[in-house]
């Protein structure tokens, strides 16, 4: 599973997250409204997954493991205070 619950109650995006991950991610976002999003272990995000990350309004725990997103998108996102 590339979308999973982290040990500390976070939602973790791991590896290559395909379009199919959108559904389970949405469910977790809905059922765990306070959970932090951790996208450090992900390698590549599908647009559908990224769309949900953006829609959730949460600042993911970075840096984003998808280097392209880290380079082009992250600087414009609200920053998560912990930084790492």
């Amino acid at each position: 599973m590339t979308v999973r619950r982290g040990d500390n109650g976070s939602i973790v995006l791991d590896g290559v997250c395909p379009v199919e991950d959108a559904e389970p991610l949405l469910q977790m976002l809905q059922t765990m409204p306070a959970a932090e999003l951790d996208w450090r272990p992900c390698r590549q995000l599908h647009t559908a997954v990224l769309q949900l990350v953006l829609a959730s309004g949460r600042a993911p725990i970075g840096p984003c493991g998808d280097a392209w997103i880290a380079q082009w998108l992250v600087p414009k996102l609200p920053q998560n205070g912990t930084g790492g």
């Binding site: 959108a22 559904e23 647009t47 990224l50 829609a55 493991g65 880290a70 082009w72």
Partner: protein
């Protein structure tokens, strides 16, 4: 022809071959997304390259084919045999044009018309209405809007990015393009990943993603409805970008941006700035070297990476800046500052030599822009002209000969000067050099080794076309594509294989009805299998058709008077079947345009024997036929036996020698007016090599055993009488040249260690 044009010819041929292969597989195994994509990319790259070398006829035709394939990819059309046919014939035409272009530097006069007709045929296969919606038209339309001013979204993106745009601009970038991509809501269901397209955009300068419409609350959101607008600015050329987005032309706007619409490039950093940047980065290195700051690791590494990145951007080193940023992000992830430290140290080195870095960036810049994404991921292969490799092979060959001279020197030192010790030392040196030379020669020959796959590639197409024409169902199986042999051999294999496969299709394979009646599966199988056996290279072409009936061959052979009647009767069934290789033999009831001219199998044997191979055939009536080509792997080096006859030395290729025997006079008798002897139940006629070469024969003692080299070629056997065997050598055979070029009976010449020229006999030609 310029280097660019030469490169175009080479690459176009590769792309044509690759696309044709994929089309065949597509038809056979069905259309997977990935496969259509590959075909599509090949056509697209071809079209792009045709544009670069300015061949509009080719571009137009390929463009039409591309549109057709786009419809297949979008699912608007199934990949019917008609479409595959049309795409293949487009490739055929392009392939002919590439040949013309290579020969004449331009396309023939009627190319424009041919291209137009072919394009029309391709477009006629498009679903109604799709022909008008040509991908790229959106790009053209938006190009016009540039004149009217910058679109609002582009202006907004430029304003938001400001100086960052200019600082990321690669040196020498000629075009700046803005992209606005609004994927349709259902795009995920089409298998689209809009980000994936954006990731392919070369030399990205800015990227922005935003919801197209107000985002619904999480509870109501549809995860599979795309509600995004992606905008970007890049230093790529508009056509190239249009290529990336050509499958979603209705969802994308691509606009060229005039340079004056961009913020001015910051003044080139002066040397004082450069020094400042060095100081800043050195400070970050010092910071990272402090090991005990584990408490604030992330902050420390993150800050160092950020500061260094900004400094580098400021000093106009966008590539270095990006690199540092990436390494920094990675380090945070792995909680290890080592790589970032190393990267910064490398940056410092690069900055010292900033001038040369700049030059390197200049060289890379435009090239990187022009390269398509496929080319970037392709395996890196060094193209070396065949002539250069040929020169190396020849030099290594000369080295082998020069090395052989050492043995000769050792002999002279020993014989003429009695220096045994020195002679021994020379021999040891010779042995050492020998090992190296053999290794060198082998390695160089390896350069010429190519996998047979490139020959096999043409066959799926051939089998498909011919079997369709003949209304037969045939499956082609190829095995051992990775087996390698010398390029000369692999290149020459094509013709014989074509004849074998055509023969199998035409004569061997029965019609589906006949196969049903014979209780066989309707779909026949032809297999081509390559393998290596020691230093031999084997290819077997097998079909499960009707086989060859010896009785039919016998009748045909007698009708065509290939052999006198009594000889024909004396042949065994196996020998009779071998007659299909005889010149002028054809078993087809009528001459078709596929095979049956009675020349094919003859060509097979001739060609294979020219490259030092043998052909054999095994057939069982009703079950099928196997033709086996047994060839050497390399022909640059041949092993010969040096023999003496009539006081002269001759070489005989070891390929032809089956054995050497001493025969006592009483075993020799006259058989059909010719002396001969019986060896393992076969009659072997004797030929005196001295007599054949018109040299004085040595008077031999009547009782002494006589020495023979038994040779076999083209199914004939003979024993050459010789005086002595002198040596066995690996030599580089040179073809007969000049006045001797037409001399018959010689395979070539080679230099011996003492500088003498050795004539190497062509056993096949001198056999009586």
């Amino acid at each position: 022809m310029s280097t660019l044009q030469e490169q175009f010819v080479t690459e176009a041929r590769e792309l044509i071959r690759q696309a044709a292969d994929d089309l065949i597989v597509l038809e056979r195994d069905g259309a997977s997304h990935e496969r259509i994509d590959r075909v599509f990319r090949a056509f697209h790259t071809l079209k792009g390259s045709a544009g670069v070398v300015e061949l509009p006829a080719m571009s137009i035709t390929l463009h039409a084919a591309e549109d057709l394939l786009a419809s297949v990819r979008q699912g608007a059309l199934g990949s019917s045999p008609e479409i595959i046919d049309a795409a293949l014939s487009c490739l055929d035409q392009v392939s002919r044009w590439v040949d013309d272009f290579e020969a004449a530097g331009s396309l023939p006069a009627q190319a424009g018309e041919d291209g137009r007709v072919l394009a029309q045929r391709l477009r006629s296969l498009l679903p109604a209405g799709a022909g008008q919606r040509q991908p790229g038209s959106a790009a053209r339309k938006s190009a016009e809007s540039v004149e009217a001013g910058l679109p609002e979204w582009a202006a907004r993106l430029i304003a938001a990015e400001g100086d960052a745009l200019a600082s990321r601009m690669p040196k020498g970038a000629s075009a700046v393009t803005a992209i606005c991509y609004q994927p349709i809501a259902g795009c995920f269901y089409n298998g689209d990943d809009p980000l994936q397209l954006m990731r392919q955009v070369p030399d990205l300068l800015a990227f922005h993603i935003e919801p197209r419409e107000a985002v619904a609350p999480l509870a109501e959101i549809d995860p599979y409805a795309c509600n995004l607008r992606l905008t970007a600015i890049c230093a790529g050329d508009r056509d190239e970008i249009a290529g990336i987005f050509r499958l979603v032309p209705d969802q994308v706007q691509i606009t060229s941006i005039p340079r004056d619409a961009l913020p001015a490039t910051p003044p080139l950093a002066n040397s004082a700035d450069q020094a400042l940047v060095r100081t800043v980065i050195e400070a970050q290195c010092d910071l990272l070297r402090v090991r005990d700051r584990t408490d604030d690791f992330a902050g420390c590494v993150g800050a160092a990476a950020r500061v260094a990145t900004n400094a580098l951007r400021h000093a106009d080193h966008p590539q270095l800046a990006d690199m540092v940023q990436r390494v920094g992000a990675l380090d945070l992830l792995q909680r290890d500052a080592g790589p970032l430290l190393t990267a910064l140290e490398q940056v410092l080195v690069a900055l010292v030599d900033a001038r040369s870095t700049d030059v390197a960036e200049d060289v890379d810049g435009p090239g990187a822009v022009a390269a398509s994404p496929t080319e970037r991921t392709a395996e890196r292969v060094l193209r070396v002209s065949e002539a250069k490799i040929e020169a190396l092979v020849n030099l290594a060959g000369e080295l082998v000969v020069a090395k052989n001279a050492l043995t000769h020197s050792a002999k002279r030192v020993e014989r003429d000067f009695g220096e045994h010790e020195l002679a021994g030392s020379i021999r040891r040196d010779h042995d050492a050099i020998d090992r190296l030379v053999v290794e060198l020669h082998g390695t160089i020959l390896q350069l010429r080794m190519v996998p047979v796959a490139q020959v096999f590639r043409s066959f799926p197409r051939l089998v498909r076309d011919v079997s369709r024409k003949l209304d037969k169902n045939v499956e082609l199986v190829t095995r051992g594509e990775t087996a390698e042999a010398d390029k000369t051999i692999v290149d020459r294999l094509f013709e014989p294989l074509v004849h074998l496969v055509r023969n199998a299709l035409d004569h061997g394979i029965e019609s589906p009805g006949q196969r049903r009646a014979a209780g066989k599966p309707e779909t026949a199988t032809i297999s081509i299998e390559a393998s290596r056996m020691g230093d031999r290279f084997l290819i077997e072409v097998t079909d499960d058709g009707r086989g060859i009936d010896p009785a039919v061959v016998r009748r045909k052979a007698s009708e065509k008077r290939l052999l006198p009647a009594d000889e024909l009767t004396a042949l065994t069934d196996e020998q009779v079947v071998d007659l299909v290789f005889a010149p002028g033999f054809s078993t087809a009831a009528e001459v078709s345009d596929i095979s049956g001219r009675g020349i094919g199998m003859d060509v097979v044997r001739t060609v294979v024997e020219q490259i030092g191979g043998r052909v054999s055939l095994a057939s069982r009536p009703g079950t099928g036929t196997t033709v086996r080509l047994d060839m050497p792997m390399t022909i640059a080096m041949s092993r010969i036996m040096v023999v003496e006859a009539g006081g002269q030395l001759f070489g005989i290729s070891m390929d032809a020698v089956s054995e050497t025997v001493r025969v006592t006079p009483e075993r020799i008798s006259r058989i059909k007016n010719n002396p001969g002897f019986v060896l393992r139940e076969r009659i072997v006629p004797i030929v005196s090599l001295a007599e054949l070469m018109k040299l004085p024969e040595r008077a031999s003692e009547a009782a002494a055993a006589r020495l023979f080299v038994v040779t076999e070629a083209s199914g004939r056997i003979a024993a050459f009488e010789i005086d002595a065997i002198r040596d066995r050598l690996d030599v580089v055979l040179k073809p007969m040249q000049g006045l001797l070029a037409n001399a018959r009976g010689y395979a070539g010449t080679t230099l011996l260690g003492d500088g003498k020229v050795l004539l190497v006999l062509d056993v096949k030609e001198i056999l009586p």
